[in-house]
Symmetry: C4
């Protein structure tokens, strides 16, 4: 028996609803999942109208093999990508996927987002990475799982994962994560905002550079043991 299952289901539904009503989501594109223990997570049903379903309908998925262990609705078609992301680190407890405008635009442009300002440095310590293109074979078989593997390839060093709560998937959109579904959603809002600032900054100044010390100052003002932003 999984602990706090109902609580997790409510949270997962709540953040999916929040995403669906935010500027990040277009029509039914996008999904949020919430890890419930080391081996399982809850995820939005595929192509569902969230106003018509209850959190009880959410499928529970086993990370190792993407099987639905509870729930009668089909999970999001992006489920195997979520599984690969959960495998990257046991501290990832929530994932948000969306095709928001500037995230999709950078993804389609096949470029990483350069670090140009303090708003970016508050959350990502480097350029925001983008996955490599999949091969024809990777697209044809196990497509969604291979997207997840291409994300994991970006973060082969664990340290990199600590400095990057999200990634662009080439030609597609973005994935963000966090210690809860809610944090992954907040990180996605940040990703979209940073993506728009970076896009528009480069249009008027292609030479702009930011000093490493300013990046470090902002990143560690909000992260790690010496963070001093916010209430204790």
């Amino acid at each position: 028996m999984i602990k706090n299952l109902n609580k997790f289901k409510k949270i997962c539904h709540k953040i999916n609803l929040q995403l669906s009503k935010s500027n990040l989501q277009f029509q039914t594109f996008g999904n949020v999942s919430q890890r419930i223990d080391s081996k399982h997570f809850i995820i939005k049903p595929s192509g569902a109208n969230l106003d018509k379903i209850s959190c009880k309908n959410y499928p529970i998925v086993r990370i190792t093999n993407n099987k639905v262990v509870q729930g009668n609705l089909k999970p999001s078609s992006d489920t195997p990508t979520h599984s690969e992301i959960y495998k990257m680190d046991e501290n990832i407890n929530g994932i948000t996927h969306a095709h928001s405008k500037y995230v999709a635009i950078w993804s389609q442009s096949q470029k990483k987002i350069p670090i140009l300002g303090t708003t970016h440095a508050d959350y990502w310590k480097n350029d925001i990475p983008i996955t490599k293109k999949l091969t024809k074979k990777e697209i044809t078989n196990n497509y969604e799982k291979n997207i997840g593997i291409s994300i994991a390839r970006v973060f082969t060093k664990k340290s990199k994962l600590k400095e990057s709560p999200g990634v662009l998937v080439v030609n597609h959109g973005g994935f963000c994560w966090g210690k809860s579904a809610e944090e992954s959603f907040l990180n996605f809002q940040r990703l979209e905002f940073i993506a728009e600032l970076g896009y528009k900054t480069l249009i008027i100044n292609k030479q702009t550079k930011m000093s490493k010390s300013l990046v470090r100052k902002h990143f560690y003002r909000k992260h790690g043991s010496k963070a001093y932003y916010g209430q204790k």
Copy 2:
């Protein structure tokens, strides 16, 4: 006696209202029609304030000659364009026309929208086509009918129609279709969203290309007998 006439009138009014309150419509520009049988469709009255009319006022038009067979309000001036689109395929049961921002911008720029990302490939299997310019004679006589004919010229192969639920009309705006008025409206929202993504992607990367296998993967994930997106 036409079957389900009142139901169709309610649907047509509902989707016209939805369009008028969406970001796709500016002032009274734009209109939606709903086919009611093989020979007729219902369409928004010309320049009407939708909050003041009832669905009973919607005119019914005969496809072959654009005559109003029921209803006392003048149909949209774009009516003959709708007729030509309905003639293209008996499975087209609803049409949405609008001048939304990025659709109008691409139309004014006289360019098709190149396929640059998976959001595009989810609905259009190729670049989104644009009609050829009309001749002076085609503009002067039967202008709106000739727009429809210029659309039909884009889809002389039936197979192309299955891979493209809408088109740009040069210098003007767009038309989308579907198996109902509602689906044509959803397709128009997709067209506008894809148009904005494509526009902004090209501004930062003019060389971007998408692999054919990725296009096929996304298109057939949502269309045809092997689609696996959404609930059964």
Copy 3:
């Protein structure tokens, strides 16, 4: 005694409120006036919070000398510009002035808006004109009146006025007019929309051109004795 004075005051207040809540207005910038007879008009009080005043407070201004003949609030500082516009044609019965985004951007860029699409041709038969820069002397003395005179210089031929319900004022913003305050407001919404479409079209295609016959078709579909758009 002026006929229908209260009715006109209510209309003028209503359209000023509509402007202030629309995307066209920023803070208290912008104003609407309504002609009440051949010699007078009502106009928004200068820098007023419209939610706190009644339509009774609106000042009535004499066109010939800009004197307030009724009302205890100071009229908009742009009042002398309105007067010059009313002098251009007795059929101008309402005027809207705003610094909406794309109107201000074109004005600041010191360029007329080229005619690039049918949405433009539905309302303006040519490029949307921009006033010439004022001389230092014209700026120092009677500035607002001289803006009005610079607008009138654009329309020395009466025929041009029939084909252009508004103008850009260089470095500043726009003025639109119509047969009522409401129509001038609708024309301003059109100006802003056309300004945005034109701006974004030119960014992706600087060579785009529209045929004269298509312009004429659209303009006369909505204007003049052969118009066939809308209900009778």
Copy 4:
């Protein structure tokens, strides 16, 4: 005992709430302070959810040493920057800081905002200045105080301060001030609006120039003893 303390706390909370619900603020970024006497000001608590706190919780800070003299919540991490701004001029009674889109974009682009139109000249008499980059040492120690010092360096001449109610901080965002928290917020809205107009104007016309006499006319129409905009 500080005079009107409760009144000031209410105002400060009100304007912080207004900022948080405006288009200027993203998530919890941004803060407003209100001077309460020559030596102290009230400021938003760091990273606080404003809907959950009362104005009583706002910390009171001493300008000379940034110590909290009342209140149990940590003040905004930007507090030392506010202190340096209050030191510039005793007539500065309110400060708003935000990372709104176009303000952040100009800051990231490391450029001042050129004066291109009357909307700009209504509030800033010259280009909107940007601070110089901090040295590595200035970033590492007393970072937020050094930002304030870099702002003060822009305004070493008192006259310049009268002609500029705000500034860009390189790579970061903006600060605006005024005779009250509310005025500083209104000035920030103006900064964002002007930043957007300037950005988009330069994209279509890099050569645009505005005459000095037009700048002076607009600035002094709203400021100084000869201002004639608004009600007396």
